[in-house]
Amino acid sequence: MKKLLLTAAIAAVCSGAVNAADYKIDTDGAHAFIQFKISHLGYSWLYGRFNTFNGEFSYDADKLAESEINLVINTASIDSNHAERDKHLRSADFLNVSKFPQATFNSTKIVAKEGDNFDLHGKLTLNGVTKEVVIAAEKIGEGSDPWGGYRAGFAGSTSFALKDFGINYDLGPAASTVYLDLTVEGVRQ
C-alpha cells in the first residue's frame, strides 16, 4: 500500500513536471493589452483597445504545441478615446454589445516557427460569429519577477475583415479590415 502511494505520488510529481504550467493573465496589474487599429478613410490609423478582459494560458517552452490560451473580452469596454464613437461602436452597427457582451478567443493549435515565433490558431467569437483566426505570435520573455512570482509574456497580431464577423457598417473601402494586437503577460499559478 505504501509503495503504491509512493508510486502515485511520484507519478503525480512527474506528471506535474512534464505538464505545461498554468498562467493567469495579469489584467489586475494591466500588463496585458488588446488593441486594434483600423484605417480612417485610408488616410490614417485609428487606434483603440478593450479595457476589460481576462484569460489564462498554459505554457511550457519545451512543449510549445501543448500550450493553449483562452481569452474572454468584455466588448462594452471598447475605448477609442472618444465617448460618442465608443457608443457607436457598442451599438448594433458594430459590436452589438447588449446582445453579445463577450468576445472570446480559444486556441486550437500552435505551430512553432523560427526562434520564439509561432502561429497561434484558434476560434475567435465576435458579434456572435465564430471564425478560425491565426495569430502570428512571439514569445517576448519569461522568468522570475522582482516580487517572488514567475512571469511569461507574449505578443501577437492578426487581422480580419469586419464583415466576416457580421459587422457591415460601411466605413469605406480602406477600413474593411481591422488589425488586432495582443500583448499578454501571465503570472504562473
Binding site: 478615446n81 465617448a83 460618442e84 457608443k87 457598442r90 457598417y169 460601411d170
Partner: protein, 183 residues
Amino acid sequence: MLSNSATRYGMISIVLHWLVAVTILSLFALGYWMVDLTYYSSWYRTAPYWHKSIGILLFLAVGIRLLWRLATPTPAALSSHTLLEKRVSRITHVALYFLTILIMLSGYLISTADGRPIAVFTWFNVPALGELFPQQTDIAGAFHQYLAYALIGLTVLHALGALKHHFIDKDTTLKRMLGQSAH
C-alpha cells in the same frame, strides 16, 4: 405689450413659446434623422454639430423663459375651462418643461463623458464635466432618446388640446398664444 397681464400673454412670452416650440420640433427631426446617417454622408459631422449647438442655445432660451415666468404674471386659465382641463394642462405644461430640461441635460452628458467640450457653432465652447458615472454616454443616450419620444408625445397632446379649445370649444386659448386679446 411686451409683458404679460392677468388675462393675456405679452409679446416676449409669445415669442419665447413659439421659438422654443419650433426649435424642439426641429431638433427632434434633426436628431431622428441624423442617427441613421451613413459615414460618408456630407451631413455625418455637420448634423450632430448643429444639433448640439442649437440644443445649447435652446437651453439658454428655456432658461430665459423660466426667468421671464418668474418676472411676469402668468395669465390665468380661461374661466370656461373645466377643472379637469385646468389640471391636465397644468400637469402637461410642467411636464413639457421638465422633459425639455432633462433631454438637454442628458444630451450634454452624452457628448461630454470623455472631457470634450461642446462647441456652439464657432461662437463658444461649453466645458465638459467628464464622466460623472459609469457608462455615462450609453445611459444618457438612452434617456435622451426615450425622453425625446415622450416629449414629442406630450407636445402632440398639448397641441391637440389647443386645437380642441380653438375648434370645438371655440374659446380664445390658442388665440391668446397667437397674440390676440382674450376677449
